[in-house]
Amino acid sequence: MKTNSKQGRLSLFVLFLSGYFSITSLSLAQDEERLEIRNLHFGETLYHFYQKQYFTAISDLLVAQKKHPIQTQGENPNLLLGGLYLSYNMTQRAGNIFTSLTQKDISKRLQSSAWYYLARIAYQNSELEKANLAVNKIGVHLPFRYNDELQHLQGNILLKQKNYKDAIKILSQYSDSTDWSHYTKFNLAIALIMADENEKGTELLEEVAELDAQDIEQIALRDKANLALGYAALKAKDNETAADYFRQIRLSGSQSNKALLGIGWAFHKEGKLKRSLVPWVELKNRSSKDPAVQEALLTIPHALEGLNAKEQALAYYNDAINSYNKELATLKSVINSVKQGEFIKSLRVLHLHQQKENHLHFTTLPDSTATPYLQSLIAGQEFQSILKNYRDLLYMKNILTHWNNQIPSYRLMLNEREKAYDSRIPKISAFMKNTQQTKLLNRYRKLKSRLEAIEKNHVVFALASEQEMNLLNKLSKIKKLLDKVPPGQLEEQHDQYRLFKGILYWQVATDYTPRYWQVKKRLLEIEKAFSKLEKKKTSSLTTLVKTPEYFKDFANNINNKQRKIKNLNQQISNVIKYQESLINRIAIDELTKQKHLIENYHIRASYSLTRLYDSLAVVEKK
């Protein structure tokens, strides 16, 4: 099968998977490598980051940067912060960080990663030239795990630039062994078809269409490929092949209604009008809100007319008109309720039920009358991005409310501290005025100078114990008695006195050094105690002087923060209001578009009905 019509190629081009890249958003969060944690605060940031709690993770890292700068993880904290900003839809901040990283003298691996993220940011902002420049700077040092993502990114940039030749060159390098290969193959097929290499492109698309899908995403991709091939075959008037492709699509999936409509058209174009009725009648039983169903309401009587079953066709045209009228009335009331804020209210309720801080997508649809009409709009990348910002704003408003509620308790706490401090002032003042310390210090100084004198004059008995001093006193008394006796008498007692005094002196003198050091050590301990006391006094004095200043600063800080909360709260409320009006505008535009489409069908059905009546009247006249 060849897809050679220009229109067919264009319809294929819009199918290329530009969104897949940003939806999966494989940032640092999906790195397989485990970083060595050398800083607890960095680890704590990662803990929240891995749970996709980006707001908390960024806050943690900002607190750490201000209070306990992380110096042991190299440039990883900056790379992480850039990745966090990117995940939190703050592309300007992320861009600034990655740009500054590329200018630093850091490892080539980190530099390549920074260029890679810059390329992604530029692509996200549709700055394709800038994205291309960044891609060219990445070089060969990008960690291996990014290869498939990079290839997908490069391919997408070139596809958007309509540079199909280079896109084919890049995308052709895909590896079959990775999860990305099917998506890359899909985009490569589109690039080939756009570059007029229809056969090769179709072959590849057929490979995706025959994919042995392992999960829901791959099944959706397979359906998409079959749908693309089916409509391309229809445009190329290869109706049988088109029908074969449409048959491969699930009967209940996002593409199933379009596939049923396509099968019907394939049979219709082959002239098999009866067979075309089978899928279209099946469609008629499905939700009349789906555009494929609305078209089928018109194609059924059209086919019946072709079968010359004019009476039945009349009935089906009437059915279609009734259904369109009903749908138009419903749409009118839905548009009115959206205008009155019903859709926004449902989004707010949905946000209240969202427990997690952050999601890449809204997984639950809002409970609103507009939702059935807006499903594809809600699933679209652009609207998801608007919703993500809206949810972030509501989350931040909650954060501000939380802090605002905390402020009174901080004030209370500060007041309590002030009171406690005031009650301690008399005690501190008494401590400061205490004269006992001076007396003790004088005693210490006297003892110190006495020890110095003992050491200088080597007064051995000055360090004698109490018992030794008693003995020395007794010996002195004995000496006095002996001195009263005339010389030559009591010689033996004299000798005994000398012997005892010598023994006592010997005892004290041999123990002098350890005794001296013992005393000196004790004096040093006293000196340390005095110094500690002095420090405490100084610190108490500082506290006494500084604490009121500290309380004042703290109170000012709390007041400033409260003012800031109030100001930001006002700003955020305005932006939320603006964001809500934008969401409403987009929703109303989409609903109006659908209304116009149904009005168009209505006109066509009414015209056909008139025409059919006219022809029946002519037959009756004849």
Binding site: G43, L46, F55, S59, V63, N389, Y410, Y578, K593
Partner: protein, 181 residues
């Protein structure tokens, strides 16, 4: 083709062209609005994140002054020999924290994230910290283990990291405590 058909076809064609042109102009206006709004939202996010940071610091200084601040963190290694269900922290024989882990939290720990389990105040001096770990150990058996550490708290903040690692030689999980100043 009668005059009615021609008239309706003309009307239809005109309506479609008009709708298409109006749609294009509106899409451009909308893109400009979106871009301006995106910038405003980013600026607000930046300001709120900075305020949030300052308020966190203010709260920490008020509730947990540096001289008494005491924080317990928990980290995990490969986790092949132990799946953590819950942890309880006792300080001086008083329960100060209990945490039951979700699958997402466990995954974050296994990938290298570090959880702050407890933050409080402790006066200077000696203290005892006991951590009880509950979970599933080797061979899918229930596993309970406690680890005790005697701490000397000075007048600067103290950080304690409870580390759960795999002791492959003994085929048992290991519960270590690391004190960071």
């Amino acid at each position: 083709m009668n005059y009615k058909t021609i008239f309706i076809s003309f009307l239809l064609a005109f309506a479609l062209v008009a709708l298409g042109l109006a749609g294009q102009v509106r899409a451009e206006q909308q893109n400009n609005k979106l871009s301006a709004l995106g910038n405003k939202v980013e600026e607000l996010k930046k300001e709120i994140l900075e305020l949030n940071r300052d308020l966190f610091i203010l709260e920490e200084e008020l509730l947990f002054p540096a001289n008494t601040q005491f924080t317990v963190f928990l980290s995990m290694d490969k986790g092949q020999l132990f799946t953590l269900d819950s942890v309880q922290i006792r300080l001086n024989d008083k329960i100060v924290a209990n945490h039951l882990y979700t699958e997402q939290e466990l995954k974050a720990l296994l990938r290298g994230g570090v959880q702050r389990v407890y933050m409080g105040n402790l006066p200077s001096g000696r203290h005892e910290l006991i951590a009880y770990f509950n979970g599933v150990g080797p061979k899918g058996r229930d596993f309970k283990r406690g680890t005790t550490i005697a701490l000397e708290k000075s007048s600067s903040p103290k950080f304690v990291e409870l580390k759960i690692t795999d002791d492959t030689s003994k085929q048992q999980p290991k519960f270590n405590v690391k004190v960071w100043e």
